[in-house]
């Protein structure tokens, strides 16, 4: 049952990314290009998602368990450390270079886009490098 609902959530998430224009790197770069002909429309993607998400997470916080009886794994950390900031900056550079972030890249890969496949392969390699590096540390960062 967990797998079925997770699959459906992924499906809806992916259609949302396609509908919103997030799977078009040209549009994403247009959104990031504030020095050129800035296309602010992708800000509405975040607005729409947060509008729904705000109420969903507020409701989730008041519950002890998920509808399927699983633990609600809400992040608890509130500290702002160097890994968070430096990691986000590195991610942002990669995002700006190609116009892909993880979700849209996977969705485009699913549509058979060869360039998205190259990006996804490199992204997985990056995650693997991180996982290998973390294994040498005394604890795992929560992914």
């Amino acid at each position: 049952m967990n797998a079925v609902t997770a699959f459906l959530a992924g499906l809806i998430f992916g259609v949302g990314l396609i509908l919103s224009g997030m799977t078009d790197p040209g549009k994403v770069i247009g959104f990031l290009d504030i020095g050129g002909s800035w296309d602010p429309s992708l800000a509405f993607v975040m607005a729409g998602a947060i509008l729904v998400g705000f109420f969903a997470f507020a409701f989730a916080r008041r519950r002890a368990q998920s509808f399927l009886g699983a633990a609600l794994e809400l992040p608890q950390r509130r500290d702002i450390d160097r890994r968070l900031v430096a990691g986000s900056v590195v991610f942002g550079i990669g995002w700006g270079l190609a116009g892909y972030c993880p979700g849209p890249a996977l969705v485009s890969f699913g549509s058979g886009q060869p360039k998205a496949a190259v990006f996804v392969a490199a992204m997985l390699a990056g995650m693997l490098i991180y996982a290998a590096a973390e294994r040498r540390r005394p604890y795992f960062a929560n992914l």
Partner: protein, 132 residues
Amino acid sequence: MMSFAGGVLIGLAAAMLILVNGRVAGISGIVGGLFVPRRGDVTWRLAFIAGLLGAPLLALLIGVRSAPRIDAGLGLLLAAGLLVGVGTSYASGCTSGHGVCGLSRLSPRSLVATLAFMAAGMLTVFLLRHIV
């Protein structure tokens, strides 16, 4: 406003995953978690990813079309993918985990992360398009 409608769908999917499965819809975290596998924690990740991969087919069936413009060449795609993979791992999240779910939770960590990757993305595009 297709962007807003798409955003609402993304929000609904994130709502479904947290309320039904008890998990945060952060794509980099869902994928990255596969590299540190724990018993009982793998299937839902693969199922969610399968949903993402299947989304273009569903979009096609319901008449949602997209014509992506991808300017980046092979080298740039490889470099970008690597940076996104490493960066999101260290930051514990990406556009979905921090930008959507984290901001929905009013998390200060996610606000800092979102401002940082937005600023870095904008600066990168500025340098690439207007300086180099």
